[in-house]
């Protein structure tokens, strides 16, 4: 399938190639830029190019690859840093220097690395499509090697030693080879046997989330907030401390310097749960705001496909995306360059369905191999002007299970994480509470109710104070105000730059119980006639 370019407008290229299929990947121009077919009319097709089209000329060749945009899945993805098209950024840097030149093709996985193969099948064994035939050790996990999803048969031979990814590890009797890695189209969810109800809590290490708005393993949460509300810091803190096997972090259209910071920290910090280097459990997909827009659109799909791949090994994977609004804006830019009819705020009308089908790729599942794996998602949203009524936030709200609203006024008071405790919610709450209550902490639910009550009463009292002044309140109410202040400053606030950045559920509960105990003890004393100032001094000592 070869042809030529007949028109170019920004990242959208019109080509004359026969036989292309919709969403096929094509290589455009002399420098083989990656593109995707988005529209076909007669002999002409419209191609969305994932790279900078500067310097591209009409008449340059175009070649269809015959397959959709895929990512390469196999051992060696862990610790990797990729761009939106899964090009390994570190190796790209080694080859072409600190600036990104376009049209440079480097395979996502290193074909020269040797992996020690542990077969789980023998010669002659029958193998079903997608069945596991063996594993290699990657980081601390068993990385399972599976038969291709479209092949089955009896094993003709299977390797029992080390192999590199460019040679087959096994072959079927019909001569079909099985490699250690395979390609998977990014826009197609990987299959599983069935979805499971999300019943287990995902411990993020952030007191406010774990305690008030618990997220489930396999659940989804969104973090909307205007600029300066600490979305990125919160996403990165969760990436560092969450109790999960693997973190896939997507820097989607965000700042380059923040990614530099993240990479340096990940190389240096340890996973608090396993004490292993953080980078060993992480995969970064990075398409900063100045990198091509179409690749930004693809980046979240690249990331979720990698995440699903590890989920299929029975692991708990957390996908963090910062930010989903940048993805939506990329979609809007593309849509507008295709001259599609705009919907609300100029976004294409299919934005909500695309978003919800993306978010639905999360979940706890029974894999096709009968293992239990989970893919959780925490997505940040950057609403323009901090206005949550805009279409992206609203579309996310309908699909996500938890809503953690970041509040500009809290951020201005340097209350971080700036999660608004009145507006935010988690739909997983009830079931997970049972889990917490049964497994570990009987008083979890009671403490939670009490904590909410204090914060709610404080809000009412604050309104009164605005009118009558704090001196006009009764002692009991003033005590409550002080306790609420304690809860906000000592419990809900968590400084991301100190030891306090991470809190286990035990520590979380202990901290709150301390404050609540002080509250009940102090109210007792007030009833016995002690002076308020005296009671409050007790806390200070």
């Amino acid at each position: 399938m070869r042809g030529t370019i007949i028109g170019i407008s920004g990242p959208t290229v019109t080509v004359a190639v026969k036989g292309l299929k919709l969403y096929d990947m094509v290589l455009v121009g002399h420098s083989s830029l990656t593109g995707e077919v988005v529209r076909i009319e007669g002999d002409r097709a419209t191609v969305q190019v994932y790279e900078d089209t500067q310097g591209l000329a009409v008449g340059e060749p175009v070649e269809g690859t015959g397959s959709p945009l895929t990512v390469r899945l196999g051992p060696g993805l862990l610790s990797g840093i990729f761009d939106g098209l899964q090009r390994p950024l570190q190796r790209l840097q080694e080859e072409s220097g600190p600036f990104m030149r376009h049209g440079k093709r480097v395979s996502a996985l290193d074909d020269t690395l040797k992996w020690t193969f542990h077969p789980l099948k023998q010669k002659g064994d029958a193998v079903l499509p997608g069945e596991i035939i063996g594993y290699v050790n990657e980081s601390s996990f068993k990385h399972f090697i599976q038969c291709h999803i479209q092949s089955e048969g009896n094993l003709d031979h299977i390797s029992e030693e080390s192999f590199s990814l460019d040679t087959p590890v096994a072959a079927l009797e019909d001569k079909k080879k099985i490699f250690g890695s395979h390609e998977w189209p990014v826009r197609v969810p990987r299959p599983y046997k069935k979805k499971l109800a999300p019943n287990e809590p995902l411990v993020t290490g952030q007191r406010c989330i774990d305690f008030l708005f618990t997220i489930a393993k396999g659940g989804t949460a969104i973090l909307p907030g205007g600029f300066g509300t600490g979305k990125t810091i919160l996403e990165q803190s969760i990436a560092k401390f969450a109790d999960v096997d693997i973190v896939v972090y997507v820097g989607c259209g965000e700042r380059g310097n923040e990614i530099a910071e993240l990479i340096e920290e990940f190389e240096f910090l340890k996973d608090p749960w396993t004490k292993r280097n953080l980078m060993e459990r992480s995969i970064l997909v990075v398409n900063t705001s100045n990198m091509p827009v179409a690749a930004r659109e693809a980046s979240i799909y690249t990331a979720v496909t990698i995440a699903e791949y590890y989920r299929d090994m029975g692991l708990h994977v957390l996908l963090l995306a910062d930010s989903i609004s940048r993805w939506a804006e990329a979609l809007r830019e593309i849509s507008s360059s295709l001259e599609e009819m705009p919907g609300e705020e100029g976004y294409p009308t299919y934005i909500a369905s695309r978003l919800s089908s993306f978010i639905e790729r999360a979940g706890a599942v029974e894999t096709i191999h009968g293992k239990t794996g989970a893919l959780s998602m925490i997505l940040s949203v950057s609403p323009p002007g901090g206005d949550l009524t805009e279409p992206v936030t609203q579309a996310c709200l309908r699909a996500a299970g938890a809503f953690l609203m970041l509040d500009t006024s809290l951020a201005h008071r340097r209350h971080f994480p700036a999660i608004n405790w009145f507006q935010s919610y988690s739909l997983y709450g009830k079931k997970l509470l049972e889990q917490f209550r049964n497994v570990a902490f009987a008083e979890w639910e009671k403490a939670q109710l009490k904590c909410r009550e204090v914060l709610r009463k404080e809000e009412t009292l604050r309104e009164i104070t605005e009118i009558v002044g704090i001196e006009g309140l009764q002692d009991e109410d003033r005590l409550l105000m002080s306790v609420a202040e304690m809860i906000r400053a000592e419990f809900l606030c968590q400084n991301a730059y100190t030891e306090d950045a991470f809190s286990t559920p035990e520590e979380t509960l202990l901290k709150l119980s301390g404050i609540l105990n002080f509250y009940s003890a102090s109210s007792e004393k007030l009833k016995e006639g002690a002076a308020l100032d005296e009671v409050l001094m007790q806390k200070k000592q």
């Binding site: 500067q54 310097g55 100045n290």
Partner: protein, 467 residues
Amino acid sequence: MKCSCRKNNNGSYSMSLAEYKYYSLSSLSGPLIFVQKVFNAKIGEAVKVFTPDGKQLDAEVLEIEKDTVMVEVYGETQGMDLEQTAVVFTDSLKMASLSTDIIGRIFNGSSEPIDGLPMFIPEKRAPVNGCPINPTARARPEEFIETGVSVIDGLNTLVKGQKLPVFSCSGLPSKELVASILKNAMLVEGPSDFNDREVTALDSNFIVIFAALGLTFHDYSFYMSVLEEMKSGFVAFVNMASEPVMERLLAPRFALTVAEYMAFDKGMDVLVVITDMTNYCDALREVSTARQELPGRRGYPSYMYSDLAAIYERAGRIRGMKGSVTMIPVVTMPEDDITHPIPDLTGYITEGQIVLSRELHQKDIFPPVDVLPSLSRLMQRGIGKGHTRDDHRSISNMLYKYYARGRDLRRLEAIVGKEGMSKKDKIMLDFADALEREFIHQPVERRGILDTLDRGLDLAKRFSPEI
């Protein structure tokens, strides 16, 4: 007939002895020209346009449909016609000429000298759009820049490689603040411990690149007098309010290409000041409308975020390289509205913001920086031991906390009156006033970081609520 020898985008030298002049214009509309029967034009290719009255203008290929090419002209298209206007395709992308001889020179938005001196001999040419820095190649910004302004150094510290915009409102002294930063900024290394009372000024190749977009003559003469007084070198790209809108889009790209060259080829620390990004965005909107693109929020094009990112993200440091590009863009918030698309999108890309407040200006505080919405995201890495002083973080947190409390209480004061407030609250109110008068207010002198921190510490002690 022109004879030129240039590097094209493939890196090889091509001789274009005879460039063909196309007279096949099919339509003209605003800054756009449609040329027919063009052979193999390239997207982004630099184009020269010859008008009937003998002027030569720069232009760029924007869109190609078979052999019809849409060209966008940088300059005034008035007086062009379909018959006598000629177009020449140069076969290369828009390039910036680079050399260290550029230091001290003043150019217009199309990179032509306007200081009366001849064009310098270029040492290198680079495409003005640049290439994104590979995120893994970036070094984390963490080296403190002393601006000499207490409210920035103490509470919203600027570090090398950061992009920190000034959000201003019309009528506020943003240019005086920028001038004070330009005159006083230097790189220093903090003392090793608290008792050491010295900061070391680092020996550095410090240079300022100034891009003025849509500047009035009044502002222009102000900035020029500032630049001429400066000790460190500067390069200026100036697009005046009366000059073509398209050049407003080009000037920052020239400025940043020069900045990257100075930083990463010559190892210099470059501070890029761009004023005013609001004019840039309005130019972007104007051009987008001429292209008949679908308008987004408030008529700005939907790609404005990506376009702004392509400018702002060129700030940074690179691992293993000496130089740095630090950026201070000035944004005038239309209608004083921080949620307007221009400051909004800027704030989403930059690493913090310095917000000026009309209220403080009316109180005669200079610089009128509103501490609460201001933020430097990269501050945490650039302060403390080895950078400034080990108590910097605690001082700034304390000042911020007290001031936020004081500001909250001002609202309460308006309702219940100061008399009705507790002693502790009154102290916080006094603190907020004192911080504005003694710490933020800094009309003339430059303050070193230690002086700034001592002032902060003194304030915190005087108004400690524990008393």
